[in-house]
Amino acid sequence: MIKAGYKEIIYRYKNMPGGIIEAYHDLNDEYGYLPKDAVIDAAELFNLSVAEAYGIATFYSMFSLEPRGKNAVRVCRSAPCQLGGSEELLDVLQNALGIKAGETTEDEIFTLEHTECVGQCQATPVFTVNGNPYPGLKTGEIPAVLAEYQA
């Protein structure tokens, strides 16, 4: 599938003062990360310096300037999830994906990251895939979830 170009995505927000973060979200959704040239294009559209646009991109946890896998798997490590077994959950995911937190799989399908609380504390521990929450799953249920995203 042909990806939308940087300018095409960024221009969606040309009439939104302060809309660069929305533009970054859409870029992130399309590419999985923020390509350097996209940040430069965003600076130009929003009339910011490149340094400022870069400073904004590097402030927020959800954005990365390094390429990531197609799917971002994030494991919550905040206190409620820690009490709920987040360390074991991380082990399970690290084993299932064959990578450590902060790494991307060889086939570039998954990146595994830590996250802080995502507000699903009714069933801990929690992980998300592309922002979709999976709270309180049993170990045996996890492979099926990952398989959904394998395609």
């Binding site: 430069i40 009339n47 490149v50 400073g55 590097t58």
Partner: protein, 587 residues
């Protein structure tokens, strides 16, 4: 007026005054780090914290507006303890490098540590272990020393609109970086060095090259010749504990000889020369309506800015080299011949208020003499260090004059050191050249002042010339946007990259305020007023130069030695202004 109590003393100040300023007004000097008199309030260092009755938390004095019956205590044990621990937090993340640091003895953090008798640190020492940045020949960055006050970001973005610096990351891993985390050379940095003045510590400094000077001096084959820029003499006094302007030229020259210079000459001489060359160029281009406005080219920070952000408008620049480079080209040709010195032995130094000059001297095309025209640039600060190294006692130093053939100058050359000076000097000569009349009153007040953009309409016997003077590259940007959109009404524009002009240059003694700049400007105009000759074309040694060597302004010889070309940068970070659409000149 608002009445409040600070440390038990009553004070009355206008509404809107900060606690910091209110305290200052009665002699209570609350310590600060991120505060800067010419910048916005940041309130991030938390050093200026005070107790305010009624508040459970401490308040930053810089960001707290006074209110009626406010009760402030700036020195309670609670406050002192808090400030000290905040200092210790900063110091624990700072290289313990004072002895080696270029800011040893002149550092705001060091000063505070001394005032708060910091003898130990309960926190484990650790630093960021980031790479030092030696990418430019002008500036040097040590990110490990950064205390994240953000004064550099503000001066680069707001005052200069260069935006080379920004923040990267968040929390404890936040750090100031150029552009997208590159080295300075790849960023939009124009090497004006204003960030050096803004930095309270040794995180940003000039590339110190005193060793090269020492090597040259100790080499018996080398003849070490220096030029001194117009803005240096007034300010170098500040390096030796005097007030600005209080070091006479003959004491300065003498001191330089004591440091090891064989010959001491003056850039003010080639400033006069620049007026001859550029004055002729300007008149020619105005009468031919050729690429107007014509824009000055003596500020290398400005040249870098133009090459980076306005590469499509480079043909507006005067083709004249800066006085520094004109000097360099002549000292190893004309002067060497006149003095009977083998040019291969000449080590050509320049003493500049500028760090961008270090870059300018190293530009590949600056070798018209057949050698490197300028071998070494030393800043005013580096000269200050040389003076201290040699332990010169200025109360006993014998007077000494500048050497011949390139040491003679007029007041017009001196005023190059301030914003508006090049214009005024040019007008003094252009007026007489164009009208054939004697100019009685040489002071053009219309072009003087601190306003970032000033304009004047000069009536030269019927011909009206519109001139504009800009200082700081923010002013440059505004003026160049007009040029790009075809809406510039000027014939001639003078641009200086640094606020105030060269007297505020990146290589000057640390410049903390506009007040300091204003004092230096006054000292330069005083020097002009006291000069015997005040018009460049009256300089007898300039006449000699043309008679014996150059023939006439804009001659073939002049073009060979004294004129230059510029190079578009194609810097991907120079947005806006990078995209092809923006670069297309509109007519």
């Amino acid at each position: 007026m608002v009445n409040l109590t600070i440390d038990g003393r009553q004070v009355s100040v206008p509404e809107g005054t900060s606690v910091l300023k209110a305290a200052q007004s009665i002699g209570i000097r609350i310590p600060t780090l991120c505060f800067h008199p010419d910048q916005s309030i940041k309130a991030n260092c938390r050093i200026c914290l005070c107790e305010v009755e009624g508040s459970q938390v401490l308040q930053a004095a810089c960001a707290s507006p006074v209110y009626e019956n406010m009760v402030v205590n700036t020195r309670t044990p609670n406050v002192i303890e808090s400030r000290k621990m905040i200092l210790q937090l900063l110091l624990a993340n700072h290289p313990q490098d004072c002895l080696n640091c270029i800011r040893n003895g002149n550092c705001e953090l060091q000063e505070l540590a001394a005032e708060y008798y910091v003898r130990d640190n309960p926190f484990e020492m650790k630093t960021r272990h980031m790479e030092k940045d030696f990418s430019t020949p002008a500036l040097f960055r040590d990110p490990d020393k950064c205390i994240l006050c953000r004064r550099c970001i503000e001066v680069c973005s707001v005052v200069q609109t260069v935006n080379a610096y920004g923040m990267q990351g968040r929390g404890a891993s936040s750090i100031v970086v150029p552009s997208m985390g590159e080295k300075l050379l790849e960023s939009t940095c124009i090497m004006c060095g204003q960030c050096i003045h803004a930095c309270p510590v040794g995180a940003i400094a000039e590339r110190e090259e005193i060793d090269k000077f020492m090597d040259a001096v100790s080499d018996p084959e080398r003849i070490v010749v220096t030029q001194i820029a117009p803005a240096v003499r007034v300010a170098v006094a500040e390096e030796i504990g005097k007030r600005t302007g209080e070091l006479p030229m003959d004491a300065f020259v003498s001191a330089l000889r004591h440091c090891g210079f064989d010959y001491v000459l003056s850039t003010n001489y080639t400033a006069d020369l620049t007026i001859m060359e550029e004055g002729s160029e300007i008149l020619e281009r105005i009468s031919n309506n050729d690429r107007l406005p014509v824009i000055t080219s003596c500020s290398p920070g400005w040249i870098n800015f133009c090459e980076t952000f306005y590469p499509d408008l480079l043909d507006h620049l005067s083709s004249c080299k800066s006085p520094q480079q004109m000097f360099g080209a002549l000292v190893k040709t004309y002067w060497a011949k006149k003095m009977g010195i083998d040019p291969a032995r000449i080590y050509s130094v320049s003493i500049m208020p500028c760090v961008a000059k270090k870059y300018e001297a190293a530009r590949p095309e600056m070798n018209a003499s057949g050698f490197r025209d300028v071998d070494l640039v030393l800043t005013t600060r580096e000269v200050g260090r040389l003076f201290r190294l040699n332990r010169l006692d200025f109360s006993k130093i014998p007077a000494s004059s500048l050497d011949s053939w390139m040491g003679n100058f007029t007041g017009a050359g001196v005023i190059f050191g301030v914003s508006g000076g090049v214009t005024e000097a040019a007008l003094r000569t252009a007026y007489e050249l164009a009208t054939g009349e004697l100019l009685e009153d040489v002071e053009f007040n219309a072009v003087r002042g601190m306003g970032n953009i000033r304009e004047a309409e000069i009536d030269m016997k019927g011909t009206k010339i519109n001139v504009a003077i800009g200082h700081s590259t923010k002013a440059a940007r505004e003026l160049m946007e007009q040029v790009r959109s075809g809406q510039s009404k000027y014939h001639f524009i003078e641009i200086m990259a640094c606020p105030g002009g060269c007297i505020g240059g990146g290589g000057q003694p640390l410049t903390r305020s506009d007040q300091q700049r204003a004092e230096r400007i006054q000292a330069v105009y005083l020097e002009d007023r006291e000069a015997k000759l005040r018009k460049s074309h009256e300089n007898p040694h300039i006449k000699t130069l043309y008679d014996e060597f150059l023939i006439a302004p804009l001659s073939e010889k002049s073009h060979e030695l004294l004129h230059t070309h510029y190079t578009p940068r194609n810097n991907q970070y120079a947005v806006p202004g990078y995209s092809p659409q923006a670069c297309q000149k509109k007519n």
